[in-house]
Subunit: 218 residues, 2 copies
DNA sequence: ATTATAGGCTAATCCAAATTAGCCGTCAAG
DNA sequence: CTTGACGGCTAATTTGGATTAGCCTATAAT
């Protein structure tokens, strides 16, 4: 990794721990192994480092969105994958989402930084909201929409069902950001949550039979 | 309100919008209507202002906890109140919780400040977690425990049920902190959420009958 | 070989913001 | 009526930290 990139990396680490205003240019330089003035060979000033981090995130984010689009286009195939999704697979789905967000180094640091900086600037708030709330809901919502369509799950309102799935994951995630020592507890809760979610929303045989009867009556 | 108190008040407002490090002592003084050096007649330094805010919050918080204890002690009476809770009353419960957290000026500013400062210091993280996650869950959990005991709601796991109730409220709350213009949307979602929660967990007549049969069979 | 560029360093410089010094008016207690 | 504490002000002072100036070396291109 070249110096220019290492600066971004170390700056992100520091910003995510202390917030922009509490990080000194000299701190960043130190971690990179150079002196503060040398930073200015790479970035115009401190703000430019922050902006570059946001820009890089936007880039990664677009790539990721592109990847998701492909999955979206391939919805039929995805639907097949999940057509027979078991409780254990559902747990895996949630656990993977959770652990990816929690442990992916870049995602985690970026989220913590945005948590601190979100009120400085409406645009940062929007990025946070999109990346850690709206987009996961929209992606999961698409998935659950398919599961409902194929009769695995049942609900009158897929969006609310998706919130019921994701909101606990989100709450546990931000809990672990602030109290990492509670990760074990969070994993346990996460699993219990998804089991209960599954038993609440899964279309069981009885219900299917009941619905058939309803059809006959009409 | 005396000057000493007004300083805390204005400081909290500013800290909640910009974070401690981005607020200048002169900003606080300005809003109070005095000059920066005069602040030092009331507080030793900037940090002491922050500490006093935390101390005051702890005081208010203990009072509140005391009040809750009283309710807890009076659990039998509370149980009566909720024994016949309707869907509309459940929605009110959630809406009130949500709107209190969102609109109570002190709570809102304090929460935003802690959001920004939580990673500076583990003790701040703990306060946040306790006040906006653990305590609401524990209080709601107690309530739902009673509702289950009195046969209004049914579940195998009250804690998870409580998370299913509260996590969406929490997620909508922090959404409104960062994008206040989405409050209307959040209120709508909140209501839909609770209706669906109600229909998922309410022990309906059919189920009661089913359970009676189960008893007979045994 | 020469030169230009990239990227590092040390030693200023600059500046904003916290804090201190020291003065003054007011008012309540003696 | 006078004195001392309270709380305000202006004018320094201090300081920490961002940024600039100017120099040096290595390396890559001509």
């Amino acid at each position: 990794m070249d110096t220019r990139q290492r600066i971004l990396d170390e700056a992100l680490t520091l910003f995510s721990e202390k917030g922009y205003a509490n990080v000194f240019v000299a701190d960043i330089a130190n971690r990179v192994g150079i002196k503060a003035p040398s930073l200015y060979k790479h970035y115009k000033n401190k703000q430019a480092i922050f902006d570059a981090i946001i820009a890089e995130m936007n880039k990664r984010f677009l790539e990721q969105a592109g990847a998701l689009q492909i999955n979206g286009a391939d919805a039929a195939a995805d639907a097949d994958i999940y057509k027979t999704i078991s409780e254990e697979q559902l747990i895996d789905l949630g656990r993977n989402l959770f652990l990816y967000f929690l442990h992916d180094d870049y995602t985690r640091r970026f989220r913590k930084m945005l948590t601190i900086e979100q009120f400085h600037d409406a645009s940062l708030a929007k990025i946070y909201q999109k990346q850690y709330v709206d987009d996961p809901l929209s992606y999961q919502g698409m998935l659950f929409g398919m599961l409902v369509a194929s009769g695995i799950l049942q609900t009158e309102n897929v969006e609310i069902m998706t919130i019921h799935f994701y909101a606990p994951i989100y709450m546990l995630l931000v809990m672990c950001d602030r109290e990492p020592e509670r990760e074990q507890e969070a994993m346990k809760t996460l699993e219990d949550h998804i089991r209960q979610f599954n038993s609440l929303y899964r279309r069981d045989e009885k219900t299917i039979r009941k619905n058939r009867n309803k059809h006959k009556e009409q």
